[in-house]
Symmetry: C2
Subunit: 341 residues, 2 copies
Amino acid sequence: MTMAKPSIYTVAQRADVSIATVSRVLRGTAPVAPATRERVLAAMDELRWRPSHVARGLAGKGHSAIGVVFPDLLGPYYAQVVLGFEQHAVADDRSVLILATHGRANADEMVRDLAGRVDGLVVMDRTVSDKLVAGLDEAGTPIVLLARDGVGSIPVVRAENIDAATRLTAHLLDHGRKRLAFLGDPESAPDVEQRWRGFLRAHETAGVTAPEKPFRCGFQADDGYACGTELLDADDRPTAVMCANDELALGLYRAARDLGLRIPADVAVTGWDDLAAGGLVSPALTTVRQPARELGARAGALLSARIAGSLDLQPETLPVDLILRHSCGCQIPVPARRAPR
Amino acid sequence: MTMAKPSIYTVAQRADVSIATVSRVLRGTAPVAPATRERVLAAMDELRWRPSHVARGLAGKGHSAIGVVFPDLLGPYYAQVVLGFEQHAVADDRSVLILATHGRANADEMVRDLAGRVDGLVVMDRTVSDKLVAGLDEAGTPIVLLARDGVGSIPVVRAENIDAATRLTAHLLDHGRKRLAFLGDPESAPDVEQRWRGFLRAHETAGVTAPEKPFRCGFQADDGYACGTELLDADDRPTAVMCANDELALGLYRAARDLGLRIPADVAVTGWDDLAAGGLVSPALTTVRQPARELGARAGALLSARIAGSLDLQPETLPVDLILRHSCGCQIPVPARRAPR
DNA sequence: TTGTATGCGTTATCAC
DNA sequence: GTGATAACGCATACAA
């Protein structure tokens, strides 16, 4: 014997008041006589009534929900970002909608749809076009960009990349490695592009000739293995490889092993992201740790501010940590003057 | 010069028809004259109008959104489950709401709220009380349980645990290990409970005395290290430890190393989940691989069916893979070529 | 084939 | 303090 879902009318009737009064005790938007208040509260309790979010939304009060758009959920990075975002949202009493684009062609359309059901949106990486972002922003949807180049005056949150990549590259050059390679596709993600730029900058500063172009490949360990094999099997094999992420680096480890090359003696390797696995392999992988969780949380905070009406929010760049372990040649003598070829 | 947000009225006016007709061409719910149709389509296009999900929901058409409740997003398991769920949802043209409970005390209340904004819910593990689940179910919210004991006739999806744990334990016993320990807390998650039961069952079958109780601890590598140290430093040190997951196992590795114990010679170790790191450590970790992504997808499929009105959906148990490597004492010639994923 | 009118559950603006 | 009542944007039964 299930009774119909209670509405504000049911409650009002039961408490013998008008719906306006019910709304008032619910929102505390105007004074209500203590006695009446009690009656209403009791009625709400007995009927187990919860105000409908949908109706509330229609009445113009927003969705009390926010969304986050990301490319995928492979590896701990995006998961942590999303989690940080979620925690902030919950603390802010908002629900979280997620959308993984997977590089789908209709991502723009999906995000446009998503925008219709949230009060604001965090957009990561190159999941959707600048055009859409700009359009949504113009249409009044509060947006925050994460790990992505700015669009108009939309707030941006990102992890520091250029300087970290510069330092890491300089570190390799300081170890005496002079023929470096960059494994990863700068066009695949803004973060990677910045790392590539830092890589180039360090070469410039050191007066060393940088490779003309990056060795482009995907993001997975298998890509690292395949591309790594090709890279390390070449005549002008690099003496150090800076990988766009740890997965690639770990794939490169296998490639090196299969080719009989030692790390870091024959080739130094660095990654990015600080996967747990990187600390367990031998030699331990030198990498960069990003504050993934905090990135998500900050994006959430900025989005809240934006929704609350703040204009002109400053871009934020969160610092990262260089984790120098052994794969870059630290604490291990670099072989002197090996004859190339 | 931003004009007010267009509504179905704006479109109707522009196309010189009634809102009913607009709705009809939108939903294809009734025949419309080609000419009229064109006019409406044009108007929709010019105004860039999108129907409001909120209004649609209020009108009684559901939210076209579903939710998933999980404890956390640490490690790849939950992330993959959520991703599988999301993919199914997207294919089904529904948005996804997520909620991480983090063991929060008010999880029930949060989920009740979530239930008010979706058409259905997947609930994982022991994130919320049976009471709430039953209540929601009774109230008509379509629910699917994932990796959790059944409640009433609510559909359940889970990975096979008992049999896999039995086989894994038997495998250890067959290797001549007779003093086994179970590292993990069966009460922390239904999956762990089932693994503990399989552990016991194998002992029974083999006629070997099982430990009275599991060695309870958390889920992280640090827990594995702390508890592992205690466990391995005891006088009656076990000759094999079955860990509730890979993180614990990897923590145990450190504990063993610090105590000067060799794996698997002095103590065999097994994990669960097949983390990438497990294939990279030495000795490679014997573990169990769950079809995380598919678990999420199947839960999504069952939820869709439930929302569509299917009653009496059968519980599903997805098979897992035993990954026998070296940490259990196997001398099997492993093709050390496995991609670290 | 198309239009009219009503309901969906809130919030908010008036009156009283 | 409290109660009618008009939005909010859409779907739909009922008319035409």
